[in-house]
Each structure stands twice: as C-alpha cells, then as structure tokens.
Symmetry: C3
C-alpha cells in the first residue's frame, strides 16, 4: 500500500500536470522537487512532534505514508499556481504548508477526534483552499499575455492521462492506507472503487452534454473522473455501502464537470482566482462534499449496522471518547471541515503574502507556463 | 495481485491501443469509459447471480478481480473495432458482452468443471472471436478512405510500448490471480514468466526475418511479445514445467508474428474482417493454443507428478467430480474451447446486428481513426 | 517486491534511455529484448550452478529476483553503448555479461562473504565499469558525424522522466528485495528512501548552479537524482541510520551532477570513452561510493547498535565466519570493490574485443543514435 501511495504522489500528480503544452518539465520536475523536499521535512516534523525518543527519531513505514499524505496536499496546492511560480517559491510554500498541515491534522485527529482516513478534509479541502488562497493573492492581472501557452497539445494530454490513470487506479489504496487492517481497510477500498467507477460515467456524459457539439473534453476526463475518490475520503472506511458510494460518485462527476465548464471561468473573471489545474473542481468541492458525507455517515451510524465491537472500533469510542454518540461525532466531523477551511484561508493568506515579496525570482507574466525560463529546453526535431 | 490486474486493464490495454496516430484520446478515453462501466455492470451481475443474500450484494476483493477479468474480454473485443465505433456503441457492446461472458463462464467453470485460471478460453478466445464477429458484421467496404490515419507515428508507438510493458510485466499476476494460494499460484506465475520471456525472443527474430530489409516492426513488438502469456492462461497453474512454458512461448511468438504479416491482410481482403489491433494474432490464435495446451496438460496429469493430494486439489476432483479421470478432464477442457467459440460467434453476431442499426451515431468511414469527431482536440505546437 | 524490481528493469531502464530524439524504439525495444533474453539465461545459469537436483531445475521467486538483478547490470552496461551497437552485439554482450556477473557474485558473496544486498558492487560497479570498458574498446573516432542525433527533444525527455520516476520510487524495494524479512528489509527501504530524497535536492541545486544562466538541465534530473539509491546499495540494510543516508544522498547528488557537467566531456575527449547515458556518473562513481560506505559501515558495526543477535544475523557471522570481526569484514568489503572492478575491466576488455569483430552488423557512425537502421519507422504527422 505504501508503494501505491508513493506512485500516486510522484507519477500520478507529476504527470497529471503535464497537460500544458510548454510546461511539461516544470510539472514533472518541480513536482518531483517539492515532493522529495516535502517528504523529508514532513518526516522531520513528525519525528520531532510524535516519535522523538532520547534524541533519536524513529521512522517506520507508517511515517512514510503520513509524509506522502502531507506532500499530497502540497501537490494539490501546486496545481493552482502551476506555471506561475519559481522553484524557490515552491520550496518556501512547501516548507510552510507541511508545517500547517501537521498543525491542522493534529487539531482534527487528536483534539476533535475526527475520522478522516482518506483525507477529504485534511488533505483535499485544506490543500485546495490553501492553494486557491495563495493564487488569489498572487493574482496577475496581465496573465492573458501567456494565454496561448496555457493550453494543451495532443501529446501533452496523453502524458496527463498517464497521471490520471495512476491516480484513479491507486486511489482505493490511498483511501484505505491508514485504515485498520481487516474490515475497515477492505470497506474503504471497495467503496472508493465504486465511487470512482460511477464518477467516470457521469463525467463522460456531462462532458459531452455541456459542450456545444457534444464532443468530450480531455480536461474533464483527466480531472473530474477522480472527484469520486476525493469525495469518499472521509466516509470510505465507514458503512457507506456500495450503493451509497455509487451515488456519491455519480454526483461528484457532475459537480466537478459543471465546475470546469462554468465555475472556473467565473472564479477567474470575478474573484480573480487563477486556478491553473482547476483544483477547485477536483479537490475543493469534492473535498467539501466528502467532509459532509463523512459527517452524515458518522451521525447515522448505529450499532446494528457495525456490530457492537465494530462500532466502537470504527470510531475509536474508547478512553476519553467512550461516551461520545454518533450524532455528536457527526457534529465534530462538521467542525473539522470548518477548521480545515479556516486554517487553509489563514495559512494561504500568510504564505501568499510571503510569496508576493519581490525576492523570489518568479517569472514575468508573459513567460508564465513556459519551461524555457527555468530549464534548458531542446526543441524541434 | 488485484492492483496488478487493475493496472493491466486500465493502463495496459488503454495505452496498448494508443498506437494510432490520431486516435490516442479515443483509445485511452473510451477504454477507461468501458472498463469503468463494465466493472460496475459485472459487479452487479455477479452479485445478483452468486452472492445475493437477503436483498444485499456482498462484494469482496475476489469479486473485483472477476469483474476485471470480465472487462478484460471487453477490452480485447474493443481492439478489433477500435476507431470505427461511437462511445454509445461501445457501451451497448459492453452491456451485452459482460452478460454473455458471465453465462459462458458459468457453463465452463460450473457445468463442464473446466480449469481456466488465466482465462485462455473464457477471456481470450471468447473475447477475441466475439470482437472479430462484431467487426465482420460492421464491415465497412469503404474504409480505405481513412487508410492514412490507420498508421502510427513515432511518439504514438512509444505510448503503446508503455501499454505493452505493463501487460507483459503483470501477466504473471493475471494468470495466477485466482489460483489457489501457495503451490498453484507460484507455478502459474513462473510458467507465465518463462513463456513470456521466450516469446519476446522469437517475436524479435521473426519480425526481423519476415521483413524485406530485416528491420523490426514495432507492431509486432507491441503485440506478439504478449502472446506467450495468453497461451499459458489455462495450463499455467498446472504442471506445465518451465521447459514446457518456454516451448509454448517460442511457438506463440512465431505464430503471432506470422499472423500479423500474412494473416491479417488476408482476413481483411478475403473474409472482410477489419481487425484494427490484430487481436486475431494476439488473443484468438494464442487463446486457442492455450486451450489446447491446457487440455493436453490436464489429460497428461498423473498422481506421480502432482502428488496424491495436489492432484485432487489441482483439478478439484471432489464431490460430484470425484471419479473424473485426467483424460476425461482433458475432453471437457476441449469441450470448453468449442463452447467458448460458439458463444462468441452467436453473441458477436447478435451484438453486431444490434450495433449495425443506424441509431448509434457511428462515424462515417472517412472519419474513422480520428479523435476529432468525439473529442475537443487542440493540435499544433 | 519482485514485481517492483521487475518494473524497474523493464519500464525504468527502458524508458530512462528514451531521451534520445531518434532512438526511442531502440532504447525500449532492445532493452526489452536483452532483458528477456538475459533473464532466461540467468535462470538457466543459476539452475545449473545452485539448484540442480536430479536432472531438474527448481525455480522459485528468489531466483527470478536474482535474475532481474543480473539483468540490471546488463541494462547499466547497455547505457554506455546505447545507439552504437546492433541487436546481435547486445545479445552477445548479454550472454557473456550474465556469465561473468554470476562468477563475480559467487566470488563476492560466497568466497569473500561480503554483504551487498542492493548490489552497489555486484550490480552497479561491475555493470558500469564493464560497460565503460566495452565502449572504450568500441571507440568510434568519427562519432561526431551523428552528433545532431545524440540530443533529446521535448517529448523524448518526458518519456525518459517516466523511467526516472519508476526507478526512483521502486529503488527502496530494489535495495531491500533480498534482505532478510523484518528489521533488515525495513531498514534497507527507509535508508534508501532518505538517501534518494536528499539526492533530488542537491541535484536540482547543483544542476542550476553549474549552468551559465542558472537553468536546470533535464539530463541531470533524469539521472543524478537516482545516484543516492545506488550509493546506499551495500549499506542500506546495515545501521546506516537515516541521518547517514541523508548525508550519502546529498554527496551523491553533487558528485553525479558535477560528473555530468565536467567529467563526461573529459572522458570522451581525453580517454576516448563515449558514454551515451553517462553511466559513469550514475552507476560507476555512486557504486564505488556505495562500496566504500558499506565497508566503513561494516567496519564500524558494534554489538551495542545491532544487539547481540541482530549483529550476528546482519553479517551472517555463523559457521566458518563465526570469528570474523567488523573490521575484518570491512576489509573484505573493500576487497569486494577491487574484485568487482578487476572483473569488470577484464570481462569488458574480452567482450569488447569480441564485439569489435566485423561480423555483427553494427551501424556506421553516421547512422548511430538512429532507429531507422533497425526499425520500420513511420514519421511525420
């Protein structure tokens, strides 16, 4: 399972972002850079906070998975600012975001005692709103100077499909990686699987329906097909049931595709949020849906469905939380969503302000989405 | 093992078909669509038939693997009609083929008590002859209007090699996924591995020998190298021995490469079977060989080689089948081949007739093998 | 773990070498050919030497992993002569190198009782110096005739990044594949992981610093980022500690990047070593470093750190080796480096001389790095 998550972070996110015609090196290369840096920083952070014993840091496979999760939220935020920032800015953002991620995760999992195995709230909602806030603050009014480079070409779309397929296939492992072995892990994988499969169908249908001539748009297929995995991140290990997962997947495919067609242009023109990869549609909205579905599923839990022992185990109603009821748990889950969003807005505003300082060597607007600034590029055949 | 099979279906088959210069989106995208749809439909079908208990469907990992297998046969049939059908037609075909696959599998495994762990008969022979029958009925006499689009370009061949390598690497997992844990699974993986390795060598040698100037043809390398895996699908978990596997692999590399050079043009000009990916060479013939090798290996089984317990376990000679002898089992295996082919011809004829109805919006012949009809395509650099 | 190593050999090495603009088919295709051939030959060799019982060869999964390792060293040597040899030459080289690999491995592991789980010495040092010796003997003074084909284009660099990422991600599995289950395996994976992550950072930093305009060079990112994995091959399963791994990774990223910028041109102009992929920087130097680090780590081992039992187990100080001390073990490790290099030079000289015979149909210098000689190529859109 650890290797599966690893593939998602490096190949999945890396290639998903290669769709830009002249920014393939930046997408794969900078994703590689920030992921490698983020993992080390996350391991150190975890080590200092959680497993610091007699001057030594103890590292196990579960630490590596947690570090990958943490980096996942950075990769998501990277999607919003893709093509507009320098590698130094990305490293600075990674440094701060990993730290804030750890704080947010601590509040949710330890203080609020929220369940979020697949990270709908901690990874997706937090990562996406963080990235969107950063890109809002870094708003470039003159970005249409590089509008011609902001599209894809035939081969770049195929490279991006490599990323999509790997994310899609390994998402069940992602959502079940840190669940308890046995029932919960099994459940998480199968629920995710059903949601993703349903999501592909509605994405295809709506992508075709919303276009003038009924043609499919590769951007939707690359992204919206994954929304179903995001949206069951919290609830996958709970008793969502396959039917419930299919419904969540169906809805998310629609929401995400509609978002790409109508919401992204609106965000850019009205709210000045320039969201290169459309993470609002793939991570922010489905992440919110995931948090809400998780809260509802938790509130609706009964001992009948889970069995007495399974019920206590599923929500860790032990020790100080022995007396917590499902409906209270649902309330805390909802609180988790709010906390994640507030942390994302505050953190994003802080980091955005830092990145706006004129010392980081970011590219001029006419050079955005262009590898030539940071890479030795050999073109032509 | 489940994830391995999953990678084969989505990345392996998806990218294997991207070799066409202007149909890469269709290959990956429609494969993604029909696989996601087929998996859901297969899960429901299995649920209704096999694991329906008190109004609920029970889903486990073995169901997911079976659904993947089922979808594998649809992907094979897709190879024959690639570039000539609309997405709606593909969904209709998937709907029917998944159903027929389940019926055929039921007849073979439950009624005839045939062993077919890697699906030489149920997946490859059935899927390939099904697809070939469909493409025969959908014959387009004026297809040479799009002849210029039916080839590959340099980069599309490299994308296809991604598919080939993933299929090649994970084929041992495919053939051993549903074998009994322990000896049989081990045996299946190693036999498949040997057969595939041998197949690569003869494919390379014959690809070079059959060409005028001794040059290698990428089409052969992409496809015929996999024939060895198809051909040990039935017998891999039996005592085929590594030497036996090497011989099967050697032969299949030759048969498949010769098929691409001589048989595919013959099928198109004389029998009016337009087989885009050459599935006759990769799946139909090696599948038949696999069925026959399986029948012979089963008929030749003795207690000396398997051990008394291993023998009974290998062929499930328990309960009603307690008195079945190896030679009788060999006969039933042979009957399984015939049944699979008959089901494929009948089913393919039915589905082909349905798809010939002028309501599905398939492309005109001059627009075949062209993404522009169904996709928003941004070309040029 | 076996599948992970398999992916590295076929996808990792295959695509890593597709960076040449007109030699993508050769890179993937010939790598596929020699890997499939080498695996069979390695299995037979192992079978005859180690597991020959009553006329039969016994094959298990560990044999397959060993065969993959053996082929790994052939793929490394292939990197030095990429684009300059015919497929027949590659098969001849594979035949000899697999044999010599087995002899060298036998001397190191059985006679010197050296530990080398990730193969810094047996795979990387041996494979790289073998390949460099061969390419020295096959020196082509007129190779600048095909200088224009020896570069990359945009898309070929992206294909190569697929190889890089797969090698990078699965390297922890590679280094831990044949370690004892449990502690040692765990340790090997985590140490490798840390070293690789650190290596990415220094590679990026130095790639930018050593270039005139501070631009990153894709060649460095594709290759030097992996040097950290090579350099902990021997010591990963020992008590290198995460901090130690980070330091090794940091150093190797620098050494390897500096090598690409300054050493490769020097080797070509002065020593007449034409090293297509720069294996001297990725495998030879990091392999040497890995051997030395391994010798030091072994010599520094104490019972305090490993625990009494762990200490004996880690170095197999049992039977005839019961009385060996850590410092003696360190000496033998150092001897292993020397033996590997001598074997590589002698073997490479022999094989190079054989390949220089004018009977193998290698391409003229103006046709090097060109698929057209050996493949049917369809270019243009």
């Amino acid at each position: 399972a650890f290797q599966d998550v690893h593939v998602m972070i490096f190949v999945g996110f890396g290639f998903l972002m290669t769709f830009l015609k002249r920014y393939g090196f930046g997408a794969v290369g900078f994703n590689f850079l920030l992921a490698a840096f983020g993992i080390q920083w996350a391991l150190l952070m975890q080590g200092w906070f959680h497993s610091f014993k007699s001057g030594k840091i103890l590292i196990g496979v579960e630490n590596l998975i947690n570090a990958d999760f943490c980096v996942g939220s950075v990769c998501i935020a990277f999607g919003a600012i893709l093509g507009k920032t320098s590698p130094i800015q990305l490293l600075v953002m990674t440094l701060f975001q990993v730290t804030l991620f750890a704080v947010n995760e601590y509040i949710l999992l330890n203080l609020l005692h929220v369940k979020d195995a697949g990270g709908s709230m901690t990874i997706h909602t937090f990562g996406a709103y963080f990235g969107l806030t950063v890109t809002r603050i870094l708003y470039r009014p003159d970005l249409e100077q590089s509008k011609d480079k902001q599209g894809s070409v035939y081969h770049s779309d195929l490279f991006a499909m490599i990323g999509t397929l790997y994310l899609w296939m390994y998402w069940p492992s992602f959502n079940s990686a840190i669940s308890d072995h046995g029932d919960a892990q099994h459940r998480a994988a199968i629920n995710t699987y059903c949601s993703l499969a349903a999501c592909v169908l509605t994405t295809m249908a709506f992508s075709s329906m919303l276009q003038k001539k009924g043609k499919l748009d590769m951007v939707h297929i690359q992204n919206a097909t994954l929304a179903g995995g995001v949206a069951v991140g919290t609830s996958a290990e709970m008793m969502l049931t396959p039917y419930g997962s299919l419904i969540v997947g169906f809805i998310c495919g629609i929401v995400s595709t509609v978002g790409y067609v109508y919401l992204t242009p609106f965000l850019e023109s009205r709210l000045h949020i320039q969201d290169t990869c459309g993470i609002h549609n793939l991570h922010a909205m489905p992440g919110l849906i995931g948090g809400i579905v998780g809260a509802i599923t938790a509130a609706a839990a009964t001992e009948d469905v889970y069995g007495k022992e399974g019920f206590i185990k599923a929500f860790d109603f032990t020790g100080a939380y022995q007396t917590r009821t499902p409906s209270v748990q649902g309330g805390f889950q909802a609180a988790g969503i709010v906390v994640s969003m507030l942390m994302a807005f505050a953190g994003g505003a802080l980091v955005g302000a830092i990145l706006k300082l004129p010392v980081w060597g970011d590219a001029a607007s006419e050079n955005c989405f262009e590898d030539d600034i940071y890479w030795e590029v050999r073109r032509g055949e």
